[in-house]
Subunit: 534 residues, 2 copies
């Protein structure tokens, strides 16, 4: 951590994330004994060399653009320090961590620029256009798909547009139940500001502690409570965007027929079309009651059928998650208890209800009746509380596992119910055939009337070339996803990592449309070049 | 009606719509006595000259493009008969009817072309590009915003692409609860095909009897049961589109983060980006029970507050509609009883519940408890049944009123709750100040957590220049909508009529993006030229 250039700490003192790991080095914890035993049994324990902070490349920014950036946002908000630039290097995929651990920080920005307002962002974009600088919007830095690794070839420099100063709650409309938030607010900060008024977003992705409002919108984020509170893209009713061609404001109404819904073109645009400078979201009242409980199912497919029943009968709880047999066996839904025995070959489902006391009572009763009728066995609140307690812990665990020679990574997809089993089998087969002796675990984390997501966690021995090994396996998994006709990403976004598979999903015409929109809004291509747009 | 060129009649024998009216001439009914009395009192009765079918302009299509069209879809599917071309002239706005009644059928197509498949549509588009023909997709012909009146200047001819032969239910996936429908299926036809399997869409706009699946998608239609079953754009999970640059298929999953949701760019594109040749929608099981009931509120604003409460507390029924004091006073929600007295200055709300017996019981109990606590007075099922019985009748009533010298038209908008009162007052003022002695009635027809729609019905004496009078009033209403920051259209779409106001809503950059997408997908501009894109 550095000096005056570091922003105020997050609520709870989580601090800044280091390129070498999830969270700050202070947050590193020892591997729980259960997980340690499991790793020893599965892969054998080894210790990887303790990663050393590697030097970042020198800033290549010439004097003229540097002076222009300083004029745009103020000298104190243009940072060239190596440490600050190191903290804005890439995101948090396992390949990102492996590269950083191997001393490769080649994607470090030449400067970190911290605008304080929409107008500041617009001024930075004007400088970027004039001097042909690549601009990478930076919110929480939690991207796991290479979305912060923009192309720099052909540009006069690469600027990290760090939105850390844009953390205001700009407006609250309690009658319409909307709030307007600045993009730099991280999950806990936004919740804290809303909670003061008895309101909340209810958006809790695993990256919640660090991820930002702008990032949620730019990547169509989906959270662990999305069954109840909706995906982030479904919460957004208004957007303010700074583009190289000027300001763009959208959001006349909750819904309308005034042509295509252009909000849905900005959502998911990953900084390639513009920089989101304000997001108006639908908010909810804080729940009076939260109850999380466990249910067991004889098989993954029986559990999925039960989820489908709930979704198709208007019975969705607030949280709904189902681990497959393997994930259940090692307790991955409960990071504090990983490796602890107690499985019976069955699958663990987490069901959470939030709302007023009356709402929770009636919904819980209806869900309990349905799940019981479908053959589920209630496990009480123990597994539910354990899941809730550890819901943001998995990425920290990855760091501990990396330290003992295990490579852990996740990937996710979604499809329609009738295709879920084939997709599950196809991705599992692709991963297992590329990673000898790997553990391939899966859960359903998001559920719709017509389908669901599948979220895979893979653990394997790092071996000699962990990066190359993983990239080959991931590529095979992506091919399997495309072959199954599913989506290349349900909620991790496209970035640079998924881009080669995007055209298979949206078609050559879809790719062409993205290029046309990009060319229209960002004619000189300064916004996150190389990200998203095929 | 003509001979072999006429498609099979609709279920219920509704037949084809005539440019002079809603529905077929056979469907014309006498004005109910109550409405007749009301009109006499308000405007004085007069009788307009019985409209005579006017001649359509001769087809201006040259031999070469005509031969190419015949080669594309078969000679029998390229129709030049005057009567067929007359039936494909414009849509069903009151200005459309007034123009036709005045003998103006200048927008008649040069040919009506009836493709039988996606490949046929693609072949027609290829001919259109080669010969520079303007192509107007035609589904149900119910558009009320000039979306069927494409520009023809500079084109070698104007072709109505009549989707009447594309009426198949292509696929049903009962596990995923999706169905794939061809675009030419009209509302009742699609429901009948799904009903056979115990399924339904649940999409019932007022235009339901004639409007088509393709049109629902192309215009982001919203129905009278959208509170329960969702807007049409929320039902769509997949699309197949024929564009001048080739086929475009979208829909890998219920939702995803694979960049912007491009389905939402096709939905609402009004035939300007491509022709939708198949729509995959989420379907529901047919309800066991339907209950519609009336509630009375002391004022429009109290009733709106109650609607807001339901929406923001997870209590939305299947149908929710609230008439303002004026609309309640003349019983517009019950076309069979218009003009009948019985008002107490209060406002009528229609609340409908559909679902399983258990669902309806529990939801009805919860809604009843909430509405009672908020001061609503239950009116029993009488008003609800009356509304349900007449739910598709208003457009027929318009014809009868036009025949006695009354001009009737509707317009609609939507906004956030905190802006609803100002929007209501602004639009009402604009209409009343332009139309001396007009009745301006309003209801809330669609409700969201963050806001609602406002649907206005205007009745005034036709006077000497009904068309010009109405266009001036409508223009003032649109200005008032824009001034209030609301949407220019909640569910009627943009067409040509709303286009001058679109840029104020989506910004110059939004307009620029629409042009960029249009130029990319339809580089020679043959698709519905002049519609939607500013």
């Amino acid at each position: 951590m550095t000096t005056h250039t570091t922003p105020a700490p997050l609520p709870g003192g989580l601090g800044e994330m280091d390129p070498l790991r999830w969270g700050s080095p202070d947050a590193a914890t020892d591997l729980p004994q259960g997980a340690r035993d499991l790793v020893e049994m599965a892969f054998g324990l080894s210790t990887t060399p303790a990663p050393e902070p590697a030097p970042v490349p020198a800033s290549a920014l010439a004097e003229e653009p540097l002076a222009a950036l300083r004029a745009a946002v103020g000298e104190e908000h243009v940072l060239l320090d190596d440490e600050v630039r190191r903290l804005r290097t890439r995101g948090k995929s396992t390949p990102d961590l492996l590269r950083a651990r191997a001393g490769d920080l080649a994607d470090a920005p030449d400067a970190v620029v911290r605008p304080g307002s929409h107008d500041d962002v617009a001024a930075v974009l004007a400088v970027a256009v004039e001097h042909h600088l690549a601009v990478v919007p930076f919110g929480g830095g939690t991207c796991v798909t290479g979305g912060l690794a923009a192309r720099r070839d052909g540009y006069a420099g690469l600027v990290s547009l760090d939105l850390v100063r844009m953390k205001q709650l700009l407006a609250v409309d309690e009658e319409s139940m909307t709030a307007t938030l600045e993009p730099g607010l991280r999950g806990p900060e936004a919740e804290a500001l809303l909670n003061e008024r008895g309101l909340m977003l209810g958006h809790f992705p695993q990256s919640f502690q660090f991820a930002s409002i702008g990032g949620f919108a730019a990547t169509r984020s989906s959270g662990q409570s999305s069954a109840g509170y909706g995906r982030f893209d479904a919460m957004v009713v208004g957007l303010r965007v700074a583009t190289p061609r000027g300001e763009w404001v959208l959001g006349s109404s909750p819904a309308n027929a005034a042509g295509p819904d252009l909000r849905q073109l900005v959502l998911g645009s990953e900084g390639a079309f513009g920089v989101i400078t304000a997001v108006t979201v639908r908010v909810r009242r804080l729940p009076e009651v939260k109850v999380y409980e466990g249910w067991r199912w004889a098989s993954f497919s029986e559990g999925r059928d039960a989820m489908r029943h709930l979704a198709q009968h208007g019975l969705l709880p607030t949280v709904l998650r189902l681990s497959d047999e393997s994930e259940t066996a090692i307790n991955l839904a409960r990071p504090d208890a990983i490796g602890e025995s107690g499985t019976d070959g069955a699958c663990l489902m987490i069901v959470g209800h939030e709302g007023t006391t009356a709402q929770v009572e009636s919904r819980r009763a209806a869900v309990t009746e349905a799940l019981t009728a479908l053959g589920g066995r209630p496990q009480g609140e123990g597994p539910g509380e354990s899941w809730a307690h550890g819901r943001f812990d998995a990425p920290y665990l990855r760091d501990s596992l990396l330290d003992v020679g295990v490579l852990v990574e996740t990937l996710e997809t979604a499809t329609f119910w009738s295709n879920a089993e084939a997709l599950y089998a196809g991705v599992k087969r692709a991963l297992e055939s590329h990673l000898d002796g790997a553990l391939v675990l899966c859960h359903v984390s998001h559920v719709y009337e017509t389908g669901c997501s599948l979220y895979f966690t893979v653990a394997t021995a790092q071996g000699e070339q962990p990066l190359e090994t993983w990239l080959a396996a991931k590529s095979a998994a992506n091919d399997a996803i495309v072959a199954a006709g599913a989506t290349i990403t349900h909620h991790h976004a496209v970035g640079t990592d998924h881009k080669p598979w995007l055209s298979a999903e949206i078609g050559d015409l879809g790719a062409s449309v993205l290029r046309a929109v990009k060319a229209d809004l960002d004619p000189t291509g300064v916004l996150n070049p190389g990200v998203l747009v095929p």
